[in-house]
């Protein structure tokens, strides 16, 4: 498969983000293509999460263009949907679903309900439907329950479907967040440090899961991650950030050989 011929699903051109006088992101260019796993790595404070917040509408970038190419986009959308400053929920509705670095589940809702929330933007029943409960609403409800349960099965959480999210072990919470994101039927899955706090065994399982999910749901994945073993074996391409700039990009092999990357991670050698 030729990497370059694939259609882009997200393309970011010279995006910058200023917080007052602080330039958190500076001229970032990034592209995710269909069916790709792209990793964004970099030391702490490099601006990775800021980057995520910019493309999910939590921040509005100061400069630059963010273009998304949703699945099944019509003629107008073929040129890409500009999502700078779009409201977070609309970004999600467009088909870009994220997880959070510090898990943000709904703690006193059950695992199943958490996933069901993800179905919200794909269902329509309104106030009257809720009160009168016509058959269309009931059918939709049942569909939401069934689809959500199916997603729980996919991430191996069907046994704890009726447990409160806050009572789940850490690894399960991470997986539940992914299931919740998948419930929104995304074309691009944004994972913010999915392996943070996991042991090597769990990380390995997570890696396999991401690969399977990518195949089964035909999503592209953009992930921020610190676990190098996972990043190297999972990603098709890697972007390396430092101080708000992309300093290197390429396949895992190219990136790991880049002297700039090594310098960013290990520091410069000063010969006297």
């Amino acid at each position: 498969m030729s990497e370059t011929n694939r259609k882009a699903v997200l393309s970011i051109r010279t995006m910058s983000m200023n917080f007052g006088g602080l330039r958190a992101l500076s001229d970032v260019d990034l592209e995710v293509r269909e069916g790709e796993v792209v990793a964004l790595i970099g030391p702490n404070g490099a601006g990775k999460t800021t980057f995520f917040n910019c493309i999910t509408g939590i921040y509005t970038p100061t400069e630059g263009e963010i273009l998304a190419y949703p699945r099944g986009g019509n003629g107008k959308d073929a040129a890409g949907v500009r999502i700078n400053g779009m409201r977070t929920n609309h970004v999600c509705e467009l088909g870009m679903a994220r997880t959070f670095q510090n898990i943000r589940l709904f703690p006193s809702m059950t695992a199943l309900e958490n996933v069901m929330i993800g179905r919200h933007c794909r269902t329509r029943s309104g106030l009257l439907g809720a009160i009168l409960r016509p058959s269309a609403t009931r059918r939709e409800e049942q569909e939401v329950v069934d689809k959500s349960y199916h997603l729980l099965q996919r991430v191996g959480l069907e046994k704890v479907a009726n447990e409160y999210a806050r009572n789940l072990p850490y690894g399960a919470q991470r997986r539940l967040e992914i299931a919740r994101a998948l419930a929104t039927e995304p074309f691009l899955l944004l994972l913010d440090e999915p392996a943070a706090g996991m042991n090597p065994q769990e990380t390995l399982e997570l890696k396999d899961m991401v690969v399977q999910i990518k195949q089964e749901f035909q999503v592209s994945v953009l992930l921020i991650e610190h676990d190098m073993k996972m990043v190297m074996s999972l990603s098709d391409r890697i972007y390396v950030m430092e101080y708000g700039r992309v300093i290197s990009t390429g396949t895992p092999a190219e990136v790991s050989a880049d002297p700039q990357v090594i310098r960013a991670y290990l520091g410069e050698e000063h010969d006297a």
Partner: protein
């Protein structure tokens, strides 16, 4: 045994200390006319015994509560559902109870006198107010301290329309609901970005603004003197006595309560209700998962306000006289207390809470000036022993249709 000794010691200590503190008040009486000091040592004894017994009972229940909590924590599971909520989950118990309750409710005006019926109508009004606020506070987690403003909107809506245009109760009832929801959205817009304490302060301000406007804009609302001679609900043009009016009002309220219970219970278990819960739990995650926070919040405010406004119309028709004094912050606090005490998010809990908080002060009139004291004590006791409210909100158990799961 050791625990008992420990408790005895603690209770003794507490009672001695309290007796000592209250001695100047309880024991010494200075008669300034006769210029004599009387020492009422008997009072000290009563104080000692009374506080000792109370402290002992208190420690006993606290121990029991702590033991229950520790057991649940050590097993790392949800605390086992109490016997009460276990019964409430059993349809074999609930169905007959509900039917019995409904029969009693229907027959009430014939079993008891007008005074009792009147009290119950007031209590029912607070049931609806509580259920309405439960949408905003209990489900969507938006702390609204100015809820009474919407109640006032409904009441003045009917009073003014009746006074100027002679519109009847049944015309204004839906009209009041619409005006109420409009005011709900009006309050909702400026507070969209606020949460927690800030939201509480702004809504508190909103409640005060409405009351102050009603008090001071004489041309519009007739100021503090209020509006009197508001028409009672019409009954196909038939005139009726005051006693019949009470009975009639009671049945109207009963109908509205049932409607409210039906609507709020259904909303709670719907797509919208779920979105509200998610909003309460985590606003950022909620929006990131594709829920329109703005819409969800405005809807919660509007619906809460609708029920308050409906009750305002009923209240004006029931009392036939309203003035701004009925819509103080105290009312807002009372309705909030109903929701919190009953159990946030639980429909049954809020109903119980409303009855408890409205009927208790009424039937404690025998205790005269002590009744508010007892009332406060009851609230403290309930909140200490059941911090999640009388009845914890029950989650709907979803049925999974296994046949379609694979294909989904």
């Amino acid at each position: 045994m050791a625990a008992l000794m420990h408790n005895l010691k603690r209770a003794l200590g507490a009672s001695l200390w309290l007796s000592f503190l209250t001695m100047p008040l309880m024991v010494i009486r200075v008669d300034t006319v006769e210029k004599v000091v009387t020492w009422r040592w008997k009072h000290l004894l009563w104080m000692l015994i009374g506080s000792f017994v109370l402290a002992l009972v208190w420690h006993f229940f606290m121990d029991r509560r702590d033991k229950g909590g520790a057991a649940a924590a050590s097993m790392d599971v949800e605390p086992a559902p109490s016997r009460l909520s276990g019964w409430l989950a059993n349809p074999l118990v609930v169905r007959p109870l509900m039917i019995l309750g409904l029969l009693l409710a229907v027959a009430f005006p014939f079993l008891f006198n007008m005074y009792q019926t009147n009290i119950l109508v007031s209590a029912l009004i607070y049931v609806v107010l509580g259920l309405g606020l439960n949408i905003t506070v209990g489900l969507a987690g938006l702390l609204d301290l100015g809820y009474v403003a919407f109640y006032a909107v409904g009441a003045y809506c009917y009073a003014l329309l009746n006074h100027h245009f002679h519109l009847g109760f049944w015309v204004v009832l839906p009209l009041g609901a619409i005006v109420g929801s409009f005011f709900g959205i009006l309050l909702g817009f400026p507070v969209l970005r606020l949460r927690g304490d800030y939201l509480a302060i702004v809504t508190l301000g909103f409640g005060q603004i409405v009351k102050l406007v009603l008090e001071n804009w004489n041309d519009f609302s007739f100021g503090p003197s209020g509006i009197s001679g508001i028409a009672r609900p019409g009954f196909f043009g038939v005139s009726y006595s005051v006693e019949q009016a009470t009975t009639y009002m009671y049945y109207i309220m009963l109908g509205l309560v049932l409607l409210t219970i039906f609507v709020t219970a259904r909303l709670k278990d719907s797509r919208i209700g779920r979105a509200w819960l998610a909003l309460r739990e985590d606003e950022i995650a909620c929006q990131a998962m594709g829920i329109d926070n703005t819409k969800a919040k405005l809807l919660a405010f509007a619906l809460g306000a609708t029920f308050a406004s409906l009750m305002g119309v009923v209240f004006a028709a029931k009392t036939t006289f309203i003035n701004p004094a009925s819509f103080t912050f105290m009312e807002s606090a009372m309705i909030l207390a109903i929701v919190v005490l009953g159990g946030m998010g639980s429909v049954l809990g809020v109903i119980l809470g409303a009855f408890l908080l409205m009927l208790l002060p009424e039937y404690m009139r025998a205790f005269a000036e002590y009744r508010m004291l007892l009332f406060g004590a009851t609230m403290i006791v309930v909140m200490v022993f059941r911090p999640q409210g009388l009845i914890k909100a029950r989650r709907k158990v979803y049925q999974i249709n296994t046949e379609t799961v694979g294909q989904a």
